[in-house]
Amino acid sequence: MAKDQKKLEYVLRIADNALILGQRLSEWCGHGPVLEEDIALSNISLDYFGQASHLLKYAAEIEEAGNDEDHLAFHRDDTEFRNLLMVELPNGDYAFTIARQFFFSVWYQLFLEGLLKSQDEFLRGFAEKSLKEVKYHVQHASDWVIRMGDGTEESRRRIIQAFADLADFIPECFTTDELDLYAIQHGWGPDASHLKESWQKNVAAVCTEAGLEMPAEGWGQRGGKIGKHTEYLGFILAEMQYLQRAHPGAKW
């Protein structure tokens, strides 16, 4: 156990969202619908990896177990990951990937804006640096949601389906458990439950332009933040961690 186990867990919750979503998006590399989008998604994926790397390095310092960021990325098991369930879902079609980028990025931007006021100097700096990246992610995803909603019959059908498929995974973004409340009390970060109103407003603005209904209020799959994941995470880790597990410390 780390001296500050709560802080460690809190930082992992932020880091693992970036790490797992980055890994997911990297799967599009070489498979994007058009070359330009292929590069755009790979860029976004690399933004997430950069963020994950910073945060995991910080987490390793908090842990004080002599590990580095790579160890935390490649040698933790699925139950030790703290990401939201949404980010580990399979990419699906491009509409699903874009819809997830949209819902997640709008939330993530609001979260980072709250993190700007963190009492934790590292997290404050992290938020400031990452916000620039995430603002672009929001714009990229929003534009595509509008294009798909207001595009062809097929694109519209697909984006509506993606919204429906993701609805159950949105509420988890706004949950606050005991650890979150502790973090809020200590001024580490914003109260996620307070982000919901702004999230709905921002999402609604894009939906209006796209001619889409807001995603339904799902009943809310949850568990990612305490290490209870979908069956998909294990497969992600199998691929992501394989090399470091087979050849610990390998460098190239």
Binding site: V34, L35, E36, I39, A40, N43, D143, R147
Partner: protein, 95 residues
């Protein structure tokens, strides 16, 4: 979705303030907004620029390569069109 549905755009990047925009390549995009965003992702990911111009390739009017001889060759022997052709009186100093 196929690229053949999307027009081609030429991309111009200004590498830093004060310099002119320079042609860097082309890409496909459905409209101007997407062209600027795609250009950002494709051509400025290694800090190549601070400003982007895009223009539809179809809107560019170009000289014909076949006209090369009468368009450009006549300039070949007009050395007096270069400022260096002229001797500057020493009183003028550096220009």
């Amino acid at each position: 979705m196929s690229n053949k549905d999307w027009p081609l755009w030429e991309v111009f990047i200004r590498s830093k303030s004060g310099l002119a925009h320079k042609h860097v390549g082309s890409l496909h995009a459905a409209d101007a907004k997407m062209a600027v965003e795609n250009a950002r992702d494709v051509y400025t990911r290694r800090m190549e620029g601070v400003s982007i111009w895009v223009v539809k390739s179809a809107d560019i009017v170009a000289s014909s390569p076949a006209d090369k001889d009468f368009m450009f060759d006549p300039a070949n022997d007009k050395v007096y069109r270069h400022p260096t052709f002229y001797e500057i009186p020493p009183e003028v100093g550096h220009m």
